[in-house]
Each structure stands twice: as structure tokens, then as C-alpha cells.
């Protein structure tokens, strides 16, 4: 009688353990990431990095004028736009014109871009925008940066 009672006790403990394992397995289970989503996220970020770094270090194709010698890079143009507030519109209009030409020749079609200063002032924007698009930080001065957000078309 005693032996049987003890066996029942062990069965109850096993039962409880199995239930506990099931509950814990359930709580620790993570939804595996979808390959396509992750692939696209990383690929887009990689493409934005390449696009932005190549683009910013490219020398402007605009010929020499009142404001530019013709040897500045796109990165310089953004810096000059922030430094020379009086003629900012001139610099940004050159940036917008030349960027639209540049992005047409890129490996992926750029759906839009968003250029903001550190205090979130929009310097320039075009096309379809998304808050989730990767951002590239361009140095300005005294630790401040300009953010360039690129959105690729699907």
C-alpha cells in the first residue's frame, strides 16, 4: 500500500514537471526571423552605405560658378550650405539638381531622400519617404552631423 502511494506521488511530480517544461518551452520559443525581411534590411543598409559613401565623395560635375570652383565634392556642398547661410539656397539647389542626376545612374533606383540637420531642420527632401529608411550621418562641425536618409524603391 505504501509503495503504491509513493509511486503515485512520483507520477504527480513527473506530471507537474512535464507541464512546467511545456510552459517554459512555450515562453522561450522565439519566432524565427523571416529570411526575406532580414535579407532586405541588411542589403538595403549595405546599399545605402555604399551609395552614400560613394555619392558624398564624388566631385560635383557642375562647372565653376560664383559659389563653387567645380572641385568640391557633394559632401563639401552640404558643409558649405550650412556654413554660408546667406547663399544656402544656391548650394542646395545645386545639390538637388546634381543628386537627381546621380541617383538615376545608381545600381538601385532611389525612391527618395531626406536631408536633415542635427536640430531636425529639413534641408532638402524628395520622393517617397519612410521613417524606417537607414540614415547616414555626415560630419558638419563641432561634433554636429547632417543626416541623409535614403529610400530605395522596391
Amino acid at each position: 500500500m505504501r509503495k503504491g502511494a509513493l509511486n503515485h506521488g512520483a507520477d504527480i511530480i513527473y506530471g507537474i514537471l512535464i507541464i512546467l517544461i511545456a510552459i517554459m518551452l512555450q515562453s522561450f520559443y522565439k519566432e524565427p526571423s523571416t529570411p526575406t525581411t532580414d535579407f532586405e534590411t541588411i542589403e538595403t543598409h549595405t546599399d545605402v552605405t555604399l551609395f552614400t559613401t560613394n555619392f558624398l565623395s564624388t566631385t560635383i560635375t557642375t562647372p565653376s560658378n560664383e559659389f563653387l570652383t567645380g572641385e568640391e565634392t557633394y559632401g563639401d556642398l552640404l558643409f558649405l550650405a550650412l556654413e554660408d547661410k546667406e547663399n544656402q539656397a544656391e548650394y542646395l539647389s545645386i545639390f538637388e539638381r546634381t543628386m537627381s542626376k546621380y541617383i538615376r545612374n545608381g545600381p538601385r533606383i532611389v525612391g527618395g531622400y531626406w536631408l536633415k540637420t542635427e536640430d531636425r531642420t529639413t534641408l532638402s527632401r524628395a520622393g517617397i519617404l519612410s521613417q524606417d529608411a537607414p540614415i547616414y550621418q555626415i560630419p558638419y562641425k563641432n561634433g554636429e552631423t547632417i543626416s541623409l536618409q535614403i529610400v530605395f524603391e522596391a
Partner: protein
Amino acid sequence: MINHKINKKGTVVLLIISLAYLITTVSLLYYGTNPQKDFVGAKALRSLDELNVGKEVQLYLDQSVRNSMYLAAKDLKIAGPFADSCKKEDLKVLLFSKDSCILEEKKLQEKYLTFFKKHFITFLKEPFKEVTFVDGIKNYDYTITVSENSVEIIGLAKKQLSFKGEDIAYTLNPSFRESIPYNLKEYLFIYEKLSLNTNCLLKQDKEIPGLDCGIRPSFTLFKEQKGDIAYLKVIKTKPKHVQTNIAISFAINLKTLQETQNNLFT
């Protein structure tokens, strides 16, 4: 009684084994060989993304160098090309007198480089993309080359920078070589022309846009005279390259000018 004791011990052992099994299963599940539930190729893609950090850091550095070069050009325009120790009249450097300073190319380059470093240091204070700029501006040996229409600065790094990502770790060489369209030599050219044409300058009115006097007409002269001292400022106004245009402010003591005029550039 004996059976009761054995069964009790056995239950405790079984309980311990079961708990160990539970802990092992859960920890394998949680900290297992693939904790992120990666899909095939995810690590390779992430590695590629982490490799790009090096590219981003290099561009950050290069653009920081270029911005610092433009800012240094602006500083030089405001402060003037002469050494701080030069003799002054009402805060303006006194030129063309016996004990006044002479503009030398090497000192001009040094002053420009000092302004450059003042700005460059601000870009290296904080890490970028978790990459720390070891030793800041002290990590470099600088070489400045001035040609007709450009200035080039080469920074040879003494120490490498390191990046440690989730999947890969590497070091990168933060050396740079950047040039901007800036005619630093124009200071020397203007200084020489000014010294040879002081009489022409002194005859001019208060403000002369398109100044000649041996200087290109893209300059504007501002002149003010108080007693024997003439205060002059020559600014390049065209084209409107705000960052890289040059300016020289100086004073001339009319009394001492004649004594030294013939000794300049001999």
C-alpha cells in the same frame, strides 16, 4: 519501512535529474548554437554590413578633414596670415616698417595647419559607429602641400583603429590624403604686390571695389587714415567663395614707410 526509505531517496534523485534535464533543455533552447534564429547566410550578410562600418568611418574621417580644411581657411581669413607676435597698430598688423613682420610661406602653412587641427580635434572626440579615434589628432603625422589652386593635407596614422562587431572584428588604417580648392599661395602673392604698390594703395579712396594697384580686380580695398597711420583691408570679393577667399588687414605707418620701402624683397 525499508521500501519506504528507498522510494523516498529515489524520488529525490529523480527530482534532481528531472530539474537538471529541465534546466539543460531550457538553456539549450535559450542560449543554443543559434540564439538569434538566423536564416542561412545571415551571418555572411551581417559580416558584410559590419565590414561597411570601416567604409563609413573612412568617409567620416575624410569629410571631417575636408570640413576642417574649409574652416581653417575661414579662420585664416578672419585672423589674417601673420603671426600673433607681429607688431600691431590698433590690433592691425603693422606692415612695411623696419621691425614689422614679413609673410613667409612656411609660417603661413604652419598657421593654416594650426587652425586645421583646432577644428579636426572636434570631429575625433566622440566615437563614430562605435569606433574610437585613438589619440585624436596626436595619432597623425601631418604633411601640407600647397600648389597654385589647391591645398593638400596628408595625415599618416601612427595607430590603427579597431572595430568589433557581432560577427567580425578588424582594424583599419585611418590615414588620409585630402585636398580642397583653396589658393593659400594667394596670400603671398597679394603681400608681395601690396609691398611693391604701397604708394598706389595710399592714393586710393576709402573703398575701391575692383582694386588694381598690381592686384587682380577681384579684390576690394577698404582704407581709413588716422594721423600717420593708414589702416587698410584688402578682401577678395569675386568669386563668392566664402570659405576659401582671402583677406588681409594691416596698418602702414606713413612716417616709417619711406625708410623701409626700398629694403623690401631685396
